[in-house]
Subunit: 351 residues, 3 copies
């Protein structure tokens, strides 16, 4: 509880400072760093609040609420980036969330979980990893076909918005069908969260905190995107790197902390569930929803990505499936996922 | 039985009408649509006749006969397309059969099959899905290596016919070895077809119907290909779309109807067997045989495809393996396959 | 024992002859062929000697020693090729070892092993195949991302040496973690080698033979690379074909003979272990070590490969995982691997 209060305090301070400096026209680099850190804190608070709110409805609803609201910061960043015409930041922020969750967080969770197991082998139920692999492959099929069609200058590329819309609708339909069957069919099977992971809050304060943190996340995202252009120039990092690495890590603080902590405690199924739900949601819900929302902006978000990211996504989908599809993982397999993340980040850094 | 008679009647009528109009120089669009529909009916009749003929030799022979003869319409269309120099139609007709079977039909069969299961999970034996995945990966290796080599303008591309021939021989050798072991090793293991799926016909009429429908399929394919060029122009659809979607669906009526019906009745293994045998055969038998046959034509059919289709094939192979390789499937996984088909069709439509 | 003596004699004769002719300025083609054959013999002797030396330390150490020293000829060839500026030969020699082991040798071992099984199905433990698949996917991720980045002329390609170094360090870290857990965790589980596969030698002679054969391999590699340029011109084969096929097969004589012989005797786990360890080591140890060593040469070895080989590597990783990941394999699956090797070799031949 004391830790929660400390984090709330720190996040409020960071948010206030970032806001003050942004409107005081301070150095964009400072605003950029502070608002990035504040986003991480807000993502964490949203996670805690969601869990406490959700505990009234049962833990499966909590899980889904958590991954949905835990992706709020990314959602805001992408929307503000789109409205500022920063299409690269918008795309790479989505990809960054995906890579951070599927490679870095899952990898570290496997390392932690296999250390916690007596025989060095983390075990978990197979269904969610395989479902996530299916959804990733589906997202990949849209992205790879559109990307190739665009790269080759075929006629289809002139219709990339139309095809992206069809792809988005397909992804959302399958995601909906999956979510429905996931929530329904596993009733009573999934291990219950007996005690809340963060020390629960009462319902009303949690609801208030959720609302406040959500609104704050929207503001901070705006400052973050506003400071981004001058900051990346001053820091000599590329926009792609900002999206893939900085947004990817800052925006997924919840999954980072919760997933790895649960794995270290030996609660493999819950750890895998938090991380995998988030991956599935970014690929098959957040991305298509943003593609559809972007129809109301002047800059359109499509599924046409830089081929390097298409390849990175393909490798990610395959590695995640190969490593977790059999329901067991060793430490070196977690390291392999982390290594792929490092390689993607390195390539992006030099891009 | 009554249904069979009705379908025979309808198919005869359609075939006669298509033929009359084709020689009366009627609108190519009408001939195109009528002969497409007639091909669907003929494919179905060939399926029924094969099953009745094959029942004399046991159900494993029936299965192989059925997928071989069920692919007769595609074979004729590709041959007539080759002789008319329509290389795009030839290639995309083969791919269309593959995508229609592996994505659309399999997907719908999984949806039907998982609805039929009490717990929403369709279960089937793992071997055939994994064998099909192996054969698809092998076909993919030929197609991907040749496609890349061609695209990059390397020296190898000048030898694409020679490499395609080597690839075709390799594919046929592995397919032969697989078929041999499949027919031999599973004796007595595979669930028997106790009653024929369509209400059996006596041997001699079935044989006659098979012969007549086969000859008719050859004629109708000729009319179909002849009407294709003006028809696609009038209908504003591309040749690739005709091959991928229209031939893909019309030419696989048997697998469509039989596979989905069996799955809905809860006969998962048979449903999977009909669909998967057909996929394996198109990829590892029909395609290489046509590559070799095309050596006798002025236009050569090679394994060099548009990269968009190479990617679509890769995604198809991976998704089919991932979804069916573990011997169980949920409705949303079937939907995911259908969604990939919709995406491939959409990209092709705009191509 | 008599066979060992005969092979020692033959190898000594071949080595002496190759050396004499090389310094007598004989036809490079003859030197090339003789030193290629001598390398095969030396690889085999190193294998026998390693096994006898290692038997003092237990069979797991033997396995690792064997795959490490068994890759000595490739190591020397690549180093001499690098110092001669033959970057294509260096790269394709590494790839050739990988393809020869993962496709040709594994494929033949599966064919032999499934013939030896009563029901035509070779069975082995799943862990090593899946670990190898993980390591191959990791290597693929470095190679695919760098290759695409280079091909697209993005900014990252200017930094390909830096990224290759990061990739190499990642690969070595994961390989180290894997090797550690593999050697430790499987203690007492892996089937013991009760009798040495080649009829054991006493310790001291084995150690002497190891040292002599190792030094000889270094010399012969030098002659081989020196004769390569004029020889491939005279023989009308490409350098890529030399690396992929000739070095691939000559340099892996140990794995060839031992793996297939063990499989034919029904000792599936050992056969798979010899072949898979070698694949894992080439991909995740030899390649990155050579990338790092090349920093001391004027020509740098990077992970940037011809896209055709990237695709071949991707197909290889997928096929090996798909076929062996479930711990069982049929003859036709072994044939499929051999067929992929034939296709890769054919494309390389025409390159």
């Amino acid at each position: 509880m004391r830790r929660t209060v400390a984090i709330i305090g720190g996040t409020v301070a960071l948010t206030a400072l970032a806001g003050a400096l942004r409107y005081a026209d301070a150095s964009p680099t400072v605003v950029f760093v502070l608002s990035g850190a504040a986003l991480g804190g807000l993502a964490w608070l949203i996670g805690v609040a969601t869990e406490s709110v959700g505990s009234r409805f049962g833990h499966r609803v909590t899980g889904v609420l958590q991954s949905t609201l835990g992706n709020l910061p990314e959602l805001f960043i992408v929307l503000f980036a789109l409205s500022a015409g920063e299409i690269v930041v918008a795309q790479t922020s989505i990809l960054g969330s995906l890579f951070a969750n599927a490679l870095l967080v899952l990898g570290l969770a496997i390392v932690a979980g296999s250390q916690a197991a007596a025989d060095g082998q983390m075990r978990f139920r197979k269904r969610l990893p395989n479902d996530t692999a299916t959804l990733l492959l589906l997202a990949l099929s849209v992205i790879a076909l559109l990307g190739l069609s665009d790269r080759l200058g075929d006629r289809a590329s002139k219709h990339e918005v139309a095809i992206s819309v069809v792809g988005a609708v397909c992804l959302l339909a399958v995601y909906g069908a999956w979510l429905w069957s996931y929530l329904r069919s596993e009733r009573g099977v999934e291990p219950a969260i007996e005690e809340p992971a963060h020390g629960g809050m009462p319902f009303t304060p949690a609801l208030v905190m959720l609302a406040v943190a959500g609104v704050a996340a929207a503001f901070v995202s705006d400052w973050f995107v506003h400071a981004l252009d001058p900051a990346v120039e001053a820091l000599h990092i590329s926009k792609a790197f900002t999206g893939i690495v900085i947004v990817g890590i800052a925006g997924n603080a919840v999954e980072n902390v919760v997933g790895i902590t649960l794995a270290a405690k030996g609660r493999s199924d819950l750890a895998v569930s938090v991380v995998k739900n988030s991956v599935a949601q970014v690929a098959a819900f957040l991305f298509p929803v943003l593609v559809l929302l972007s129809l109301f902006f002047s800059e359109r978000l499509t599924f046409v990505l830089n081929p390097v990211y298409v390849a990175a996504l393909a490798v990610t989908a395959l590695a995640v499936w190969q490593i977790t599809g059999d329901g067991e993982a060793y430490a070196f397999e977690g390291l392999a996922l982390v290594a792929i993340y490092v390689i993607v980040a390195t390539v992006t850094y030099f891009e």
